[in-house]
Symmetry: C2
Subunit: 257 residues, 2 copies
């Protein structure tokens, strides 16, 4: 049992929780909580950590794969946890390496392209909602918040294991690739003349979603084949990025069903 914060593994867990660079260098991330542990692909789990209380709780005796888990004194587990009320289980999981080519292999893909999203919860919620809406994959500009941020991971509720996500080094070139594959690219934009409900998304479709504060950059918006508008009542000028994404993804799903 690990009983000290000076332990090398504990120091490393803290680094992995806090630093995107440490996660990138080691090519892993931390998934916390029972659901995140149980949904993780077994062959991607590097190491599992449980608290002493978690180990001693008879309700947990039927959980699989824990025989090699490292046990941490409760206060040590709390120390490395990113949550206020830790469930007592976390694991180090290998990062995915999805490629745009894999996403474009699908027939009539449905793709979300995110520009510089900054809120980890928003990104996680979009990934979770995307799985629910049957999105083929998500492409993010290089300045988007780290998908492996603990808050993002938590908000995905496990969808991070299943939705192909690509961090693009050259988003403009990648959008060109997507267009060359016959996918029509729509930008949710205040300049849109037609409502999002007036277009057809049954063929290959991609939606461009902009940053929370500034919306889409001019350069990104210009890559779109068409601007669409989400008509709004009242004095609302814009919607939360995850909300706008939800509306578009589920309209595409509705049309495809």
């Amino acid at each position: 049992m690990i009983t000290s914060t000076a332990n090398q593994q504990i120091k490393n867990l803290v680094q992995l929780q806090k630093k995107g660079k440490a996660r990138k260098d080691q090519d892993v991330f931390i998934a916390e909580g029972l659901k995140m542990y149980q949904e993780a692909p077994q062959d991607k789990i590097v190491r599992t950590y449980i608290s002493e209380s978690f180990l001693k709780n008879p309700e947990n005796s039927s959980i699989k794969g824990l025989k090699d888990a490292e046990v941490l004194e409760d206060r040590i587990f709390d120390y490395v946890s990113d949550t206020k009320t830790p469930q007592g289980i976390m694991c180090i999981v290998r990062q995915r390496h999805d490629k745009i080519e894999d996403i474009l292999k699908e027939e009539k893909p449905l793709i979300m392209i995110l520009e510089n999203l900054q809120d980890p919860g928003n990104l996680g919620t979009i990934i979770r909602t995307a799985e629910g809406a049957g999105v083929t994959g998500i492409i993010m500009s290089s300045q988007t918040v780290d998908i492996y941020n603990p808050k993002t991971i938590r908000s995905t509720m496990g969808s991070v294991y299943r939705v192909p996500c690509v961090r693009s080094e050259d988003i403009y070139a990648d959008i060109d690739k997507i267009k060359e594959a016959g996918v029509r690219v729509y930008a949710a934009h205040l300049k849109g003349k037609s409502s999002y409900t007036e277009e057809y998304y049954s063929e290959g479709t991609a939606f461009l979603i902009g940053n929370e504060g500034n919306g889409l950059s001019r350069e990104m918006a210009e890559k779109a084949d068409k601007y669409i508008l989400i008509p709004m009542c009242g004095r609302v000028e814009s919607l939360n990025a995850a909300v706008a994404s939800t509306i578009l993804m589920f309209e595409a799903r509705r049309q495809r069903n």
Copy 2:
């Protein structure tokens, strides 16, 4: 200029930021940031506070209504602010007192009924999205997170001033009132047999949305006229409460347009 955290007004601001009870007793809440200040109904603003830097910034000289604003030393403003990067302006605003009867006065109302939502950001996002979707009003069970929580206020982006919101003391009796007014009540529920896209929401419509962790309680779900399902792909079991609300509100809006 206020230069001490021992100042009585500063002590009160801290109470109002942190304690729902203080907000309730004084019947006010705090709205932070320039947008929240500018969109506040003038007759509801009790007092405005700005930082010394905000006062001295020539860009702010054209902002109206600031001649009686209290000026706070920057470090005092930071001390009372609920945000990491304070904009240097906040105001105390009187709470709204909407009634269910006001919401039901509207022809063919579109109503959201929220049961015990716990995440302030979720509640705020729902209020903001509701204004955009043209929702008539929001009714919340008594255990729902405080609408005047600073995080909720911020997430509404000003919609809190405009969307009628009622905290119900007896949610079951209030749902009966809504039904007696001819409004059809739908519950988003896993037991739903028809998809949400197969129903018609052009007449008076209310949607029941459950708590983030547990969904709708059995008692609440039983109040519904009909269960509807948001069909989901992949292994997603449920959606974020704000996301589920968004899908239903904008489907109703789509049908009503």
